[in-house]
Amino acid sequence: MLSYLANPFRFMRFSKIAIPISFAAGLLMVAWSLYNGLFVVPPDEAQGGDLMRAMFTHVPSAWLCMGLYAALAVSSFIWYIWRHELADVAARAIAPIGAGYTALCFITGSIWGQKGWGAGWHNLILGDSRLMSVLVLFFLFLGYIALRAALETRQKAARAAAILAMVGMINVPIIKVSVDMWQTTTIHQPSSVISIGAPEPREEGSGMDWVYLQQLLWGFGGHSLLAAAMIMMLMRSEVYGQQAERALALKLEGS
């Protein structure tokens, strides 16, 4: 399907229909998961009581932000090797959406981890390796966006950013390993604050109730569709922008 869409004209036609559908479906799924998650599902005391409800946004956005960085790296790779213009347009669109979801993941994770306002807020952020690696991911996105913005021509910006995305991607496993190691031997001993409100999303299968997992999956599906819709919207505006610039350049040439 990707190769079908690779043609810019086909993509524009496809996205015209796909965006509203994806957006609407995504919104519905997210609303459903949030409604259930916030009001219907019983709170899990072991996971922090009511605050744990932040999980229904936090976990889907965690999966999504990591997936989006991978998608960024893959589009960059495709563009770099095959110079397929749409891949670069996609990469450019993925970056801000990815950054947004990374920030969302970090903020909701911090909310979840907090055991009552004002109590050990920062200890929580610092104490969880997963949150810190999300923070590093945020800077990876930010660096990508900044580099793209700093270079003058579109081609140069695309090539440099592609190199950066690929370099970032191969560093991600090492970063993950190092941050995990960091959490276990940091000067601040993992305190009781952490164990009480630990925002450790238990993976499915190992003891997480279906009742929570179901909402997580709805949330993930919904957010993915939302992200896809937003990315396609950004891609469309980028394509239009390039066409407008080209028309302008032709006009200037002719005059």
């Binding site: 991911l137 700093a150 090539r159 440099a160 950066l164 690929m166 370099v167 970032g168 031997t185």
Partner: protein
């Protein structure tokens, strides 16, 4: 490329790093200055300083590496030397690696030699000095390698200092973590092995990325 051109490249960039005014004094000064400020911000409690000292030094080393990174490749781009290097097919990654190595030798390694002095001032126990210096040497190389990638990518951008820092910092994180842990844990620890592995990884990957970025910058 055979040995003689490589050696000449090494010599030239070594001399250039040294002669370019800021070569060794600026990073050294920045590093020493930062370390000197530490007691002012953290207080003079000996125990705290000796626990926190190595970490602060590590951070200061990372930041110092960025001080001179900006000009490493930008100068070659602006004066046309990069064009000449690119005429010799296929060797630009090697040249980039050599430039990074010499940059580290001039701007990174002297900082390592300074650490016993600063460590002593901050009360870092002498048993930790040798692991610290070895760790800083390897970590410094990692900083200059990934920082070099960031610098090469930003070579055509004016006043790219902050951009380079933003790009490079996530890539610095593993070395920062492994390096500090290794000081306490010593040479037989997973953190030392991981630090060594990260160094080799950086040596393998970063020059290729730098080469691609430099070819791009010359266009």
């Amino acid at each position: 490329m055979s040995a003689a051109p490589l050696l000449s490249a090494f010599r030239q960039s070594l001399f250039e790093a040294w002669a370019s005014g800021a070569g060794v004094l600026l990073p050294l000064g920045f590093f020493a200055g930062t370390a000197a400020m530490v007691p002012f911000t953290l207080g003079s409690e000996a125990e705290l300083l000796s626990r926190v000292g190595p970490g602060i030094l590590w951070l200061a080393l990372a930041l110092s590496s960025m001080v001179t990174l900006e000009r490493v490749f930008q100068a070659d781009l602006q004066d046309g030397a990069l064009d000449l290097w690119l005429q010799d097919t296929g060797s630009i990654s090697l040249v980039a690696a050599i430039k990074t190595l010499t940059h580290w030798l001039v701007s990174g390694f002297p900082l390592v030699l300074l650490t016993p002095l600063i460590g002593f001032m901050l009360g870092v126990p002498t048993t930790k000095m040798i692991p610290a210096m070895i760790g800083y040497s390897m970590g410094g190389l990692i900083f200059f390698l990934w920082g070099g990638v960031a610098a090469a990518l930003s070579a055509s951008v004016a006043r790219a200092g902050l951009l380079i820092a933003l790009i490079a910092l996530p890539l610095y994180v593993p070395a920062l973590i492994f390096g500090v842990q290794m000081i306490d844990a010593g040479f037989n620890s997973p953190s030392f092995m991981l630090l060594s592995a990260s160094t080799l990884f950086a040596l393998g990957v970063a020059p290729a990325a730098m080469g691609a970025a430099l070819r791009l910058a010359a266009e």
